[in-house]
Symmetry: C2
Subunit: 330 residues, 2 copies
């Protein structure tokens, strides 16, 4: 009568080893408990990755797990928050067998450790649909110090981490094997774009500096143009971006050299998981120095002004026109 | 260039009105912020409901929303926690059109208000599979005061809220329309079981009393027998339950009168969303009085002893033997 259920065995075998936080209670309770540091706010974010939408069902399960956690870590990074832990909800099709789960848990555990964000609790269920992995990540900031979208002010500089467009271009390459040849990408460039789509590099190393210096920030997940437009809308300002200053990888540059119109995909396609931030002129040097110390590439791409909307202009000063600013599921 | 995406319109129209907590920032940011009351712990729980697993795709969307929130509220109740808010992740098939979403948001908003648990943030995405609704609920308790599974001690009494078995019997009735006739249920009894499956009644009104008086508690979601066995395993004790004292609704009694073997389904089938708790003898009267004041039925069903496992015994003293103690997805 005391045989544990399949669900309990699965949790004990694959996920209990990840529940290193004392508040996770070894995943042996209904809920986790978290004692917030005095003088801190919790920062809460939730994002799901769905098979067929955010990853391909045959992607390596360890990398699917990393993506699921990292898209959430990226939100914490943009908010200037330090990761405290996460809860995981797994809806799994029958194809997610033990070897799939073992690899998934391995990837998840590696990232939980690397980013200092332990598993606090979770839920597992079956689905007739694609694997759906929902993570809620919890971070902390000093009380009142979360970096918001609404703080951009005229005169602020606009900066962005890493490189933009790789994820959207990588998805295109993944979907259509002819693409890499058409864009004249070498093997390394092709691999770079595919990898950037599959495994985001969240900028948590920059979180503390963003909290200290940024006036506003946002995780770039649905396209730089649309996401910066959201910062501007909430802040009640406009942004002027010099398109040629937007940082691109060698691979993205190669693709754009073959098809210049791909600039639209790069700037509006999403899946970047970089941070776009605004920073007052007096704080720019400090943020740049902090980024350098943290090993995170940071590029100034434009400025904030009175008004509304976002303009991307080419070197000749002509505005780039996009069909839509952002990726949208709806 | 500034037309909001479909996803943004959907959030603004249906979900922003629910984001009444100041930390939700009107759903206009990457993350929510929550300032925990000084001297408190956060209690975190996550549960998904998946079409075809936890509800039927043609169930009314307002009730699907209520179920999604209530299964999480039930965990907070069992832990003695006061709801602080929740984040919502929606993976929706194309069949979830605007009228579906409107009804869903209406049900969700009504419960968020009724239980004092506001929407803090969320995520929406498409899926090729069934609607998958994942909620992470956050509650608060005084530091160190979360009611755990591990506190049951020999001599404690075992109590359970509400009635047991309705959810599992209701699911059976829902799946096979012949069932109600075979069990000789009248229309009202049939409706009662169906409703109990579809819309749980979480016992948040009892949370504060559980925190003050219970030595251990757990949300009964996978079957009373298996869930009580989990409390015993974590506490390192055994439980002896008098099966005839387990509270049953009139409808469940009618079904069992027709088919006595249904007692197994009632005790192991799950979907109860009641609370099973253990309480020291000195505190039992206080918990009973608090339950009465809160309008929550509370029934003493057995006791905790030295040993391991759970025994359910009939009036003749014979142990009931079950094929399995709990529902499991795996």
């Amino acid at each position: 009568m005391r045989r544990p259920s399949g669900e309990d065995r699965l949790i004990a075998r694959f996920f209990r080893p990840l529940a290193t936080h004392p508040g996770a209670l070894g995943l042996s309770d209904d809920a986790a408990t978290l004692t917030p540091p005095p003088g801190s706010d919790l920062v809460l974010t939730t994002d799901a990755v769905v098979g067929g939408q955010h990853f391909f069902p045959d992607d390596p399960p360890d990398l699917i797990a990393k993506k699921a956690l990292r898209v959430n870590l990226s939100d914490l990074a943009a908010k200037g928050a330090r990761p405290a832990g996460f809860v995981l909800s797994l809806a799994l099709p029958p194809t997610a067998d033990e070897s799939w789960l073992e690899a998934f848990a391995h990837g998840l555990g590696a990232d939980a450790q690397a980013y200092g964000c332990p598993l606090l609790g979770g839920d597992t269920t079956r689905t007739d649909g694609p694997a759906t992995i929902t993570i809620t990540a919890i971070g902390t900031v000093p009380t009142g110090a979360m970096v918001r979208r609404g703080g951009a002010r005229p005169g602020d500089r606009v900066v962005v981490t890493g490189t933009i467009g790789d994820g959207a271009l990588g998805l295109h390459v993944r979907r259509d094997p002819q693409t890499a040849a058409r864009w004249r990408l070498d093997r390394q460039q092709r691999q770079h774009l595919l990898r950037r789509y599959l495994v985001p590099q969240p900028r948590n190393a920059l979180a503390e500096a963003l909290r200290q210096h940024a006036s506003a920030a946002m995780d770039v997940s649905d396209g730089l143009a649309g996401d910066l437009a959201k910062v501007c809308a909430v802040s009640g300002v406009r942004a002027d971006v010099e398109a040629e200053r937007v940082p691109l990888s060698d691979a993205a540059r190669a693709a754009l050299a073959s098809e210049p119109a791909l600039i639209e995909m790069a700037l509006t396609g999403g899946d970047d998981y970089e941070v776009v931030a605004t920073v007052p002129p007096v704080a720019t040097a400090a943020l740049v120095a902090a980024a350098k110390a943290a090993g995170v590439a940071l590029t100034e791409i434009g400025s904030i002004a009175v008004g509304s909307g976002v303009d991307f202009r080419d070197q000749a000063g002509n505005a780039l026109l996009f069909k839509q600013l952002s990726f949208s599921h709806f």
